[in-house]
Amino acid sequence: MAIFVLLSIPLFACGLTALMRKRQWMEAVHLLSGIGLFATAASLAGSVLRSGSVSSGNGFLYVDSLSALVAVLTAFVYMVCTPYAVGYLRRDESDGTLAPHGDAHAALRRLRMYYCLMPLFVFCMFLIVVANNLGVMWIAIESTTLASIFLVTFYGRPTSLEAAWKYAMIGGVGLSMALFGTVLTYYSAHQVLGGDSVSALNWSVLVLQAQHFDKPVMRLAFILILLGFGTKAGLAPMHTWKPDAYCQAPVPVAALMSTAVLNCALYGLARFYVLTTRCLGPAFASNLLILFGLLSIGVAAPFILVQRSSRRMLAYSSIDHGGIMVLGLGFGGVLGVLGMLMHMTFHTVTKPLLFFCVGNIQQHTGNDAMRRGASGLVHVLPISAPMFLLGALAVTGTPPFSMFQSEFMVLRAGFASQHLGLSIVFVACVVAIFCGFFHHVTQLVLGPPSGAPREAFSRWKTYPVIGLSTVVIAMGFWLPAPLYQLLDGAVRILAVQP
């Protein structure tokens, strides 16, 4: 029952907004949908904790603790993004960036498009998490891409069009590879299950028979799946669309994409990882995952070191954290998987904080340049700038904050699985990324006052920043017990005993 509510709220919100005339109404629906979604996701997680797994529509929709975790995280990000989006778009409207030469009607149309597409975008993400059938999961991922294309071209600038085109093309190719992988998985499962009943492609059914699948087909299938979902998650060599898309999309969309879409893509990858390790044994899959994980971290490091735009720096940071999660999964064992899931949780909490701060800074200074751009922002943005510094410390895995614990756990997994050389490379890249990231942020935040007027205090844009930073600090020292049980359940699903 909670699953249907979870899916229907966004659809309902999308439909309602399409009919709205006034901006206040759209914002109200947007906010309500955010809060409603988080409440439903939380109750769904509660019921999953109580009964292990929840399914409805005779197995078509299936939620276990892994999907409940990702659902809760997605709902959390959406809930946090909605108030910020209201403040952000109001500021855009007053700046006149929404509609060329102040045409109010066009601005309203564009706002309606935003408030319609966002719930649709979230609906597809929840569908990914909830779908038991791997084919339906692929359809849901494909539709997230389609829904978000027009969000990326929201501002209609030539560069945003260019970013959208790259996003569409690379996303399209990646996802067709994923489709091919799904087809091959179905083919390798076909001999064993036989018959083409509707439940033939259901994950819960497949996972029980995984040992008997056809080995070479499964190997090819996992390669294609890894490339497909890797493109969606933005792992290196397929990461090239990410910096452009995050740079051009509105900040709330970028925040949602960099955390929720990354989580869903890795969720899909994890589903197939379980099937492959059951069928082929852990060696094949973890070597590939380690390769792509390290590649992503290695590619992200130099770009962050010499980066000139803050939004692109955050994009590369997402690529780096995607790489760390995949590396954790690759190292395997309870430690590696727990490290990955904790990293996913903490990243989902920390990254939006950074995006909101960058958003506030960009709207104040007008551009997101770092090198010769503004400095001494702490005098002008008294809350966003310090929180940006705090977020920078958190996201680079500096110990007092939570990301350190998950990164350290991934490192321990690396040592446990005798990958000493790789762990050294991993630590080196993490330190290099910290140097680049923190260097740029301090140049932006600290420094003499540049005489610009102090930013007008806007409630919608500042309270999410404050709320998120308290959560980030609290997460450093204490983890709520139900969340940890959810993590534990998810680990038991993923950690395939070799």
């Binding site: 990646g174 493109t231 630590v427 140097c435």
Partner: protein, 682 residues
């Protein structure tokens, strides 16, 4: 009988409450005058609590440990106050009390007074995290506390972040510390994988379980990881950049105790986690110590910025401490636990001594900076007349740091000498020559330190003021003077009362090396310090001091003997007949260090340029402009090339994101082809 646990946790609580109060005060934008002193008093109270807790742990020998659940099963925040932690915690809290008293007056003006709440919040958080670093009992909590120290220290260093020099120092500090922490991650995990658990108790002696290669690499990783924080020579460049720009009470704390966290880490790893180490490890530590000491003091001599001079001296004294540790390691690997205990006591005692007198000197420099308004020694002079008390305390610190009797610097250097002296007989291989050579270089270092502090004290405080800001210098307020007085007193007490202080090390050497040496180190009903036994050399700073005072009678007698009261007139010094003596005639800091700059020219490669303007005759220049500088060898030859190489590689890597969609699709296409060719077969 001694409520250690309650005192300790009460101390932590007071720190935390003070930090939160500071934060709320800052957020509510109250810059009332009473905020800073109140929070400093809180810090003093907390430090006093910690001091009594650690003294209790040391004297009563009672250790305790409790842990805080962290919500994640595999990580819990454990704390344990064993002898080594108690010793360092005691040193920390002693310095924290003195710096706290000093800060009450210091925070009235200067960069920190613009944001008192925030400064006090980070100050208390910094002390809290330092206490946790010394008392953490598992790796994760140790690393969390360690990085919290780095982060809070960074925010304290950049309080005056308006100036670029401050920001550059801060960023250099945090980046290099983070590099060091990265090395420590790897080293600790190697040991943990051998010990099978993250607890310090379980890791006791875990170094043996590792294979020789892994054991050696873990040792090197941890040595250089802690070395970055301690400021050993090749990894030291952040120290002279960060300490001078910080507010003086912060740089006093940083030089006094924060770099000692590196020393604590080394002591914990070398003597607790490793049983017996190969000989080359001890030699490496000894050589690093000698090099750091010698180069540290040589660079200090060339400085004419008072706080940079003191920062370089921290490197020198860390070198001396490492000499103690290095010889202790060598003795242990040669199989002489008694001598190893002597050398370890020398190193640990010098850690405390250096903490005390370096803190005193930085506080002195701070009050000079506030009084005379400048850090450059060339513009100071004659401050002894206007700031008599600061001058006296600075003088006591200078005498102590130069290792002159009867103060505490002399006692710990005396122990180091005795350790090196005894080392000659311990082995027959050529390494026996290392000890006397190290001893000779230590003597050279001590003498150069004396020369450096004659320059520092003489140019800053004596003769005529060179700049007009020095002319109107004001004496430091009462609280700053009391802070310095406390430290000066502890310098004297640690010096004269060393015989009562040495037994503290008994439990430490017992746990680390399994041998109690302190009975042999103290003899003559605890009046005399000996090097193992009275027979092989003894010294008694107390008796020497009494001797000096008693013998004072002889010169007085000689002065009064001839009966008739001789006249005593004050007149101008000899000015070679020039019209009156001005400040321009005085020797400057650069001139004072010129002979040594010429002698050690190979190291400094000094460069100078002189432009003289003449108007009438070529023999009498109207004005001479003199500029001389030495080459910062480490920055130009090691760090800049590496940094530019990294930037170049990163810039070239940026070409990947060319902007053309064909390239992007080609990347994926090639990856697919490669995986199909090799992946499927694999």
């Amino acid at each position: 009988m001694w409520p250690i646990c309650e005192l300790y946790s009460a101390g932590l609580l007071v720190y935390a409450v003070a930090a939160l109060a500071g934060l709320t005060a800052h957020l509510r934008k109250t810059t009332a005058a009473w905020i800073a002193p109140l929070l400093c008093y809180a810090a003093i109270a907390a430090a006093a609590l910690e001091f009594s807790a650690s003294c209790g742990a040391l004297f009563a020998g009672a250790a305790f440990d409790w842990s805080l659940p962290s919500g994640i099963q595999s990580i819990h925040y454990g704390v344990c106050l064993d002898p080594l932690s108690a010793y360092f915690n005691m040193a920390l809290s002693l310095l924290a009390v003195c710096v706290g008293v000093y800060s009450v007056g210091y925070l009235r003006h200067g960069a920190a007074s613009r944001r008192p709440g925030l400064f006090c919040c980070f100050f208390n958080l910094h002390l809290l995290s330092l206490t946790l670093v010394f008392t953490a009992s598992n790796i994760v909590f140790f690393l969390i506390a360690w990085e919290l120290v780095v982060v809070t220290a960074y925010f304290l260093v950049v309080t005056d972040h308006e100036s670029t020099e401050v920001r550059r120092g801060g960023i250099l500090y945090i980046l290099m510390s983070r590099g060091g922490t990265g090395l420590m991650f790897l080293g600790f995990l190697l040991l943990a994988s051998a010990a099978g658990s993250m607890e310090f108790q379980a890791m006791h002696g875990s170094g043996e379980k590792l294979s020789p290669v892994l054991g050696a690499s873990a040792f090197l990783l941890l040595f250089f990881g802690f070395g970055v924080k301690a400021g050993i020579i090749p990894l030291h460049i952040w120290l002279p950049a960060a300490h001078p720009v910080a507010p003086s009470n912060v740089s006093a704390l940083m030089s006094g105790i924060v770099i000692k966290t590196g020393i604590y880490g080394m002591a914990r790893v070398f003597f607790d986690f490793y049983g017996v180490l190969p000989v080359w490890t001890g030699m490496l530590v000894l050589v690093a110590g000698v090099v750091s000491a010698l180069l540290g003091v040589l660079y200090a001599l060339m400085e004419h910025d008072l706080k940079r001079l003191l920062a370089y001296h921290s490197i020198e004294n860390i070198g001396i401490i490492l000499m103690g540790f290095g010889s202790a390691l060598l003795f242990r690997s040669f199989g002489y636990p008694q001598l190893a205990a002597l050398a370890l006591v020398a190193g640990l005692f010098h850690t405390l001594n250096h903490g005390v007198f370096k803190c005193l000197l930085f506080l002195g420099a701070g009050s000079v900076l506030q009084g005379a308004g400048t850090r450059n020694m060339e513009e100071m002079g004659g401050l002894i007349r206007r700031m008599p008390w600061t001058a006296l305390y600075f003088l006591i610190g200078a005498v102590a740091i130069s290792g002159l009797p009867p103060l505490n610097g002399f006692v710990s250097e005396w122990f180091t000498y005795q350790g090196l002296l005894a080392g000659f007989g311990t082995t027959s291989t050529l390494t026996r020559m290392a000890f006397p050579i190290a001893g000779a270089l230590l003597a050279l270092t001590a003498a150069l330190a004396a020369a450096c502090f004659v320059k520092a004290f003489g140019i800053t405080f004596l003769a005529l003021p060179r700049g007009e800001s020095a002319e109107h210098a004001m004496e430091a307020p009462a609280s700053m003077k009391t802070g310095m007085a406390l430290l000066a007193a502890s310098c004297v007490v640690l010096g004269l009362g060393a015989t009562w202080f040495i037994p503290i090390f008994a439990p430490i050497t017992q746990r680390a090396l399994g041998v109690q040496i302190t009975q042999q180190l103290v003899a003559g009903n605890s009046l005399v310090l000996t090097a193992g036994s009275v027979r092989n050399g003894s010294v008694s700073p107390l008796m020497l001091a009494l001797g000096l005072v008693a013998l004072g009678v002889v010169p007085f007698a000689l002065w009064l003997a001839p009966g008739r009261k001789s006249s005593r007139v004050t007149g101008p010094s000899w000015d070679c007949g020039l019209p009156g003596l001005t400040a321009a005639n005085e020797y400057t800091a650069t001139a004072f260090s010129k002979p040594l700059r010429m002698i050690f020219g190979a190291l400094f490669r000094p460069r100078r340029e002189i432009q003289a303007e003449f108007d009438v005759s070529p023999y009498y220049p109207k004005a001479i402009h003199f500029e001389s500088e030495i080459e910062p060898t480490f920055e130009t030859h090691i760090y800049e090339p590496i940094w530019t190489a990294i930037q170049a590689i990163a810039a070239r890597m940026r070409k990947i994101q060319t902007g053309s969609i064909h390239a992007y699709l080609a990347y994926i296409f090639v990856t697919l082809i490669l995986l199909l060719l090799f992946g499927v077969r694999g």
